[in-house]
Amino acid sequence: MEQFVFWCIAIFIVLSAFFAMIMKNIFHCALLLAAALFGVAGIFVYLGAEFLALVQVLIYVGAITILIIFGIMLTHKMMDSKIIVMNKQVVMSAVITGVLGTLIILTIYSTAHWILPALKNSESGYLTHSITTASVTKNKKVVTDVYTLGPALINPKKGFAFAFELVSILLLSVLIGATVIARKDQEG
């Protein structure tokens, strides 16, 4: 049952994403993208990261998609779906993407048998030592909780405080930069 629902969601995501990449009407593409991203949030729930699932919904679906729709509306006329949407290298890129995707799937398939058990068995094994741990916790199920994720983000010793500050500066500069770029030039 669990797996069935998972694959339903997965197929939903893949189809949405695929049609988002090939549809002619870009507005439909954006809606399909939103659907795909929402589905990914569902996958996050399956992965046990409810908090991140909600963040995904809030930011990707609630913000980025809307931003994209805004962009579409500001740069397109309504209902102009008669244009060519693919460039000249579409066949070539399809081939390359196909090869790449096949290779990825083959790699996963061929390595799954021996690397994944190793991962499973290494919960307390040697592999953990080679990893810089943000915040190791004995309780396996608390990761989605903001109590563990928050300190992991801002803990200056074991966490990612520096990256966190860097990202805040990045966001500030994005805020200012986007405003400056998108503002109409004050001619005169």
Binding site: Q89, M92, I96, L100
Partner: protein, 629 residues
């Protein structure tokens, strides 16, 4: 107390900056600053001089040195060396400069670039003082070039005159030839001795001569290269051509730079680096012969010139030849003594000439005549200077020239008898051309018509011009006596080696030189005053020689020829090489090669980001494929 020596070059530099930046508008303030600074420097120099006399011999010389830059093992310093030689020079330079600046107040009164003129004078004086106070070769060279620059600026002061513009360029270029040798010499010296300080280098030379470290050949090479600089700056024979042309500058400049101070820098440099020269017999001999040749060569040209300043310029050449000759034969004291006394009477001669030019507004001696009546002070001071340069006792020129004769007499240079003959004959020529000038200008009736000078009646110059001349006349009479036999104050002050060395004084030499000088005067009076003989007749009789002399031995023409066919030919060859091989083959060729590559590579630079992304992902796929097998 001696540290005030730092201020001696610094003050004129400050005065230069002040005039250029702030007080250019006001003639009064600019000249006032400049003259006051010069007076201060003169007083400082005298103070240093007096204080130095009281120093014990063991405490001399005084050397201030501060590090300038350190390049690995090479320590370059900047500093001040106070020894009798430099004291002699700073007193002389500040004194002449002071007088010339006072004189210029009158002479340049109506010039629109009056302030600029004084700023240049300040800069020149600063450079000259820096030069004579240098304690190492590099600093010497830097100030040497600065002096050259000032000379360029001042010769070309009236740059709107084409002749002045040409003359300053000529002076600059000719000096560069000498300076090239000089710089080569300094570099060779640095490579040989790994030091630039005078004292360090000279000690090493002294040690090297004893231990056989520095080879004689190397020292000879260095000395000859250094001498190139002196040849350029002091206008010795092959590079003398710039000095007569330099007379296009204002006359006080000629007095200060091209008679008394700057041209003496070459002589000073030989004296300063005397340890190098005296370590090489070949170099000394070369110096002596070049000096002797220049002396007689210039004197013969001076006989036939018409331009009052040019006559004086060739006279300067001749006298510089004397000094170099004296140094070449080992007469260190004689050379410097003649330099100093010559500075006084030659400056006086130029100032007198300036005074005459100021009132006559011409340089041609044949347009002058009988000026003694109208310009008594000028005439008498000029006469004093002429007597002094001719070597009539007891004027100072007599003493210094006699010193040189004695030095040649007692030297060990090969063929010093010939040199002595040249020197004595030059002394005769000196008095001949000098009194030719004097008689024509001051006593002859001249060819000018009184009417043509109604507008500016010939008048005596203002007191600002006369006072310096009178002071210099005084010096021309009495300065030589300080080194009279049995007195010898100068010889006790400036000497080379460990103890004063003075050539033996010989009555025979005195008699000969006096006789020669007097006969020159008499001959000149017969030709140009009493008109017993006709100069023209003589000239016609020896027409080829006269023409040769009149045209200055065609040296300028020879140089033009050289420049035209040799230098320009070489330049054309180089230009061809540069144009077709360097530019065409290498520069353009490499460019064309790159362009061709670019044209080829441009095909894959579509500017479409997705093309690039396609290539990137394609490459990833290919690498992936390769890695998986």
């Amino acid at each position: 107390m001696f540290s005030i020596a730092w201020w001696i070059p610094l003050l004129p530099i400050l005065s230069f900056i002040t005039i250029v930046l702030f007080t250019k508008k006001s003639k009064l303030i600019s000249s006032g600053i400049s003259i006051l600074v010069m007076l201060t420097c003169f007083i400082f120099s005298i103070m240093i001089f007096i204080r130095f006399l009281s120093l014990p011999l063991s405490a001399r010389p005084i050397n201030f040195s501060v590090p300038w830059m350190i390049i690995s093992s090479l320590h370059l310093n900047i500093g001040i060396l106070i020894d009798p030689l430099s004291i002699n020079m700073i007193v002389l330079v500040t004194f002449i400069s002071l007088l010339v600046q006072i004189y210029s107040l009158g002479y340049m009164k109506n010039d629109p670039r009056f302030s600029v003129y004084f700023s240049y004078l300040s800069l020149f004086t600063a450079s000259m003082l820096g030069l004579v106070l240098s304690n190492n070769y590099l600093q010497l060279f830097i100030f040497w070039e600065l002096v050259g620059l000032c000379s360029y600026l001042l010769i070309g002061f009236w740059y709107f005159k084409p002749s002045a513009a040409t003359a300053c360029k000529k002076a600059f270029v000719v000096n560069r030839i000498g300076d090239f040798g000089f710089l080569m010499g300094i570099i060779t010296l640095g490579l040989t001795f790994h030091a630039f300080d005078f004292q360090a280098v000279h000690q090493k030379i002294a040690l090297g001569l004893n231990n056989g470290v520095g080879s004689t050949a190397a020292i000879t090479l260095i000395a000859l290269l250094l001498f190139c600089g002196a040849v350029g700056k002091s206008a010795q024979f092959p590079l003398h051509v710039w000095l007569p042309d330099a007379m296009e500058g204002p006359t006080p400049i000629s007095a200060l730079i091209h008679a008394a101070t700057m041209v003496a820098a070459g002589v000073f440099m030989i004296a300063r680096t005397y340890q190098v020269f005296s370590a090489s017999t070949v170099a000394m001999t070369t110096v002596a012969y070049v000096g002797g040749f220049t002396a007689i060569f210039a004197a013969t040209i001076a006989l036939t010139q018409d331009d009052i300043k040019r006559i004086l310029a060739y006279s300067t050449l001749s006298q510089l030849g004397y000094m170099v000759l004296a140094l070449g034969v080992g007469g260190y004291t004689a050379g410097m003594f003649h330099l100093t006394s010559h500075a006084f009477f030659k400056a006086l001669l130029f100032l007198g000439a300036g005074s005459v030019i100021h009132s006559m507004e011409t340089n041609d001696i044949w347009k002058m005549g009988g000026l003694l009546k109208k310009m008594k002070v000028t005439g008498i001071t000029f006469l004093i200077a002429a007597l002094s340069i001719s070597g009539i006792p007891p004027f100072s020129g007599f003493w210094s020239k006699d010193e040189i004769f004695d030095a040649i007499q007692s030297s060990h240079v090969q063929g010093h008898q010939i040199l002595l003959g040249i020197a004595i004959f030059t002394a005769f020529l000196t008095s001949l051309y000098m009194f030719r000038l004097f008689f024509v200008v001051f006593l002859g009736n001249g060819h000018h018509e009184e009417d043509s000078h109604e507008n500016h009646a010939i008048h005596e110059s203002p007191w600002t011009m006369l006072v310096p001349m009178i002071i210099l006349a005084f010096m021309s009479i009495f300065f030589g006596m300080i080194n009279a036999p049995h007195l010898g104050l100068y010889s006790k002050f400036i000497y080379y080696g460990s103890h004063p060395q003075k050539a033996p004084f010989s009555i025979k030499m005195v008699l000969i030189s006096s006789l020669v000088a007097t006969s020159g005067i008499i001959l000149a009076s017969l030709f140009y005053w009493q008109k017993v003989f006709s100069a023209k007749a003589v000239a016609n009789a020896i027409s080829p020689i006269y023409t040769l002399l009149k045209n200055k031995y065609y040296i300028d023409e020879f140089y033009s020829f050289l420049a035209k066919y040799f230098v320009f030919g070489l330049a054309a060859l180089c230009a061809w090489f540069d144009k077709y091989v360097v530019d065409g083959g290498m520069v353009d060729g490499s460019g064309k090669l790159i362009c061709a590559f670019g044209r080829g590579l441009r095909k894959i630079e579509t500017g479409k980001i997705q093309n690039y992304a396609l290539v990137i992902f394609g490459a990833i796929a290919v690498i992936y494929l390769i890695m998986s097998f």
